[in-house]
């Protein structure tokens, strides 16, 4: 099976370890991974900030970059949700019929990583080893956007050495919300404080999620509080083995 990796601009630029882990994990499971280098950003930030025309242009670009891919896999619930929920609508803004059709066709072939593992590959035990106490934050786009349900937990439960601890008020947003974190910084920070408090209450060493953006936010708060709790993307946990623990750890 061959897939094209949609790594997302955020992971590409700031969190390459998450992208590397996704590649290593998929290859270990026998999947051939391609990385179309033309990809940049899915347009989520522009769309959610009120810049729909700009977002439509970026969406068209991304769809073109993946036009030949049989399946597109991304380690981001929010970017997958962006493609799935908004691309068909954004396509209406694109005059070029072919480009618009490519945008409308992308959602059906796009999978968030845990969806791909559980639904397409049919695996839950990915052969990972990660000897740490971990709590899982179900990011909003995974929980309510994609409805990934317990797929991430099913994967985590099969990781050897991993102790999974439940996060209180897990379904509450961490307060990131893209430009919301800057435009409404005080409200965002109040939400973050509550999320960080819930994470600390679990006694976990690591907080994981399906989105580097949420982890950047939660991690930014945890580090400011000098909590000693790390944030690690789920792909990195699933990629870790005895022989190859994640390099960043």
């Amino acid at each position: 099976m061959a897939v094209a990796l949609f790594v997302t601009c955020l992971v590409d630029t700031l969190f390459p370890a998450c992208g590397q882990a996704t590649v290593r994990l998929l290859e270990r499971l026998g999947v051939e991974v391609d990385f179309p280098a033309k990809q940049t950003c899915c347009g989520q930030m522009h769309l959610n900030s009120g810049y729909a025309p700009e977002a439509a242009g970026l969406a068209a670009r991304l769809a073109a970059a993946f036009a030949d891919a049989e399946a597109v896999v991304t380690p981001s619930a929010s970017c997958a949700a962006m493609v799935r929920e908004s691309y068909p609508r954004l396509a209406e803004r694109i005059p070029d019929r072919g480009a618009a059709a490519a945008m409308a066709a992308l959602p059906a072939r796009t999978y968030e990583l845990t969806e791909f593992l559980v639904d397409v590959l049919g695996v839950e035990d990915v052969g990972a080893y990660y000897p740490h106490r971990v709590t899982y934050h179900p990011s909003c786009h995974g929980l309510r956007g994609l409805r990934v349900g317990d797929r991430p937990l099913r994967l985590l439960r099969r990781v050897r050495g991993l102790e999974l601890v439940e996060l209180g008020d897990a379904e509450q947003c961490c307060g990131f919300g893209g430009t919301f974190a800057v435009k409404n910084a005080d409200t965002s920070a109040a939400m973050l404080t509550d999320k960080a408090t819930a994470v600390l209450a679990t006694g976990a060493q690591v907080c994981t999620a399906l989105d580097s953006s949420c982890l950047m936010h939660i991690g930014g708060g945890l580090r400011r509080a000098r909590s000693g709790v790390d944030v690690v993307h789920l792909a990195e946990i699933l990629a870790a083995t005895d022989a190859h623990p994640v390099p960043s750890r």
Binding site: D12, P16, L58, C140, H141, V182, S188, T193
Partner: protein
């Protein structure tokens, strides 16, 4: 309604009030759990939601015909219909009607619509005292405050605060904070006024065009007293409240209480049709209020906000509302529904910051009983606000510049990779300019969070290195 400060500034103030945050967190957590429990009991909640959404969507599509039909039905059953284009017109009509009865005091049934048009102030200016009879509305009125929640107007106050208020205003001074005692104090204060049977002013939850029946739901029975004991009843209703037939209420009356208070049924559902000799109010006036609603209706996407049945479920699950409180929105309708309704009904000029007062977490859309895709409307209105400012060079320029730079950086592989290198600190000059922009944008972030540390290598650099080929330049 009077506070048009941008949301972030108002929220900053309310966030600092730890008592308020505590009260809200306790209250919304309780209502959330109650709602979840009774919604869970319904075998086909999603089907019920779809039926509710369909009734409201149909009614909005046919609003003009339904309103004319409603006017005819109400008139035929002995009521008088008045049309009010805006708040001032509605105030004028209602004050005129009250003046004609000679009443100096009127009783109010809990109504958001009359808050929206600032009716109490209008009546006061005409020398008429309006007394709120809903317990929480009474609390807010006695405190000289504004409601901060659609269903629970005094949600921002705890029992101890209400006890102090009652002891100070309506007595007795030795009141405790037991709910029964507080309710008894309010009852003693209100009951003799109900029995005087003068003029009552209400809002409406629903109206059935076919029969002219008006529906008000409430929990305490005070509304029922006012509605039945009054000699004159004046109902102020937003035009979006009309549905075709009484039977259309079946789904809505099942959705509303479960969503609003976590009750299976509303304790009091009052329905009346026109005037009946010797029974109930002998004079009935229905004021149909537009006040910006037809403007909302004109927007094919934004109009979904008019489906709202004011259950407040979206407020109770909203993490922004829970922390900033209803006051921060500065509007009659706060929370997610306020953030999608008020910028349209009032104006973007005054309420343009509200669609941005959301992390787009989607909790609201998940609970909305009439299936309003609130995050989609928020994004739609953000677009409208950004477009409005595009025509004004001086407003929102920093953000527009940043977004333009980013859109351009993302618009091609070469430019994108160059921007990545730049971000890591290649070109000195460009970095200095970038830093100024970044500080302007990221200052609020770093007040409470660390920024991530840029890695030595981007993902794509790693990928290329791994593939053992350097195809930089090909595009």
């Amino acid at each position: 309604m009077t506070d048009a400060r941008p949301f972030p500034a108002a929220a900053r103030e309310s966030l600092a009030d730890s008592q308020l945050r505590h009260n809200l967190a306790v209250a919304t957590t309780t209502i959330r759990a109650r709602r979840a429990a009774v919604v869970g009991e319904v075998a086909d909640w999603e089907g019920l939601r779809r039926r509710g959404a369909a009734v409201k969507a149909y009614s909005l599509e046919h609003l003009d015909e339904l309103l004319e039909q409603l006017e005819a039905s109400v008139t035929a059953t002995g009521g008088v219909v008045h049309w009010a284009a805006d708040a001032a017109a509605a105030r004028r009509i209602v004050t005129g009607l009250v003046a004609a009865t000679g009443a100096e005091e009127v009783l109010k049934v809990k109504s958001l619509t009359t808050d929206e048009i600032d009716l109490n102030a209008g009546l006061a200016a005409a020398g008429v005292a309006a007394l709120e009879t809903d317990l929480a509305e009474l609390v807010v009125q006695l405190a000289g405050d504004r409601p901060s929640h659609i269903v629970v107007p005094a949600i921002h106050k705890n029992r101890a605060e209400i006890r102090d208020l009652f002891a100070r205003t309506i007595g007795p001074a030795d009141l405790t904070d037991s709910p029964a005692e507080l309710a008894a104090a309010a009852r003693a204060f209100l009951r003799r006024r109900f029995l005087a049977g003068g003029v009552t002013i209400s809002g409406a939850n629903f109206a059935a065009a076919e029969s002219g029946a008006i529906c008000v739901v409430e929990s305490e029975g005070n509304g029922r007293m006012c509605l039945t004991l009054a000699s004159t009843l004046i109902t102020v209703m937003g035009i979006e409240k009309v549905v075709p037939r009484l039977t259309d209420l079946a789904a809505l009356l099942a959705l509303l209480p479960r969503s609003a208070t976590g009750e299976r049924l509303n304790p009091y559902t009052s329905l009346w049709t026109g005037v009946h000799p010797g029974d109930g109010p002998q004079s009935f006036h229905l004021v149909l209020l537009d006040n910006g609603r037809s403007r909302v209706l004109a927007d094919r996407v934004g109009r979904d906000a008019l489906r709202c049945i004011r259950c407040a479920a979206c407020l109770n699950v909203c993490p922004v509302y829970e922390r900033a409180g209803g006051g921060a929105y500065g509007t009659t309708y706060p929370g997610p529904i306020g953030a999608i309704l008020e910028p349209q009904r009032d104006s973007l000029e005054r309420r343009g910051s509200l669609p941005f007062a959301s992390s787009l977490c989607g909790a609201c859309a998940e609970v909305c009983p009439v299936g309003i895709d609130i995050p989609r409307l928020l994004v739609h209105l953000r677009g409208a606000e950004v477009d409005r400012k595009r025509g004004r060079p001086l407003e929102g320029r920093t953000e527009r510049t940043a977004m333009a730079i980013l859109a351009r950086a993302f618009s091609g592989r070469r430019r994108y990779e160059a921007a990545q290198r730049l971000g890591r600190g290649g070109d000195r000059l460009a970095r200095a300019r970038g830093a100024a922009l970044r500080d302007a944008l990221m200052g609020p972030w770093t007040r409470s969070r660390e920024l991530p540390v840029a890695p030595d290598q981007t993902f794509r650099e790693w990928w290329r290195e791994r593939a053992g080929e350097d195809d930089r330049g090909r595009s």
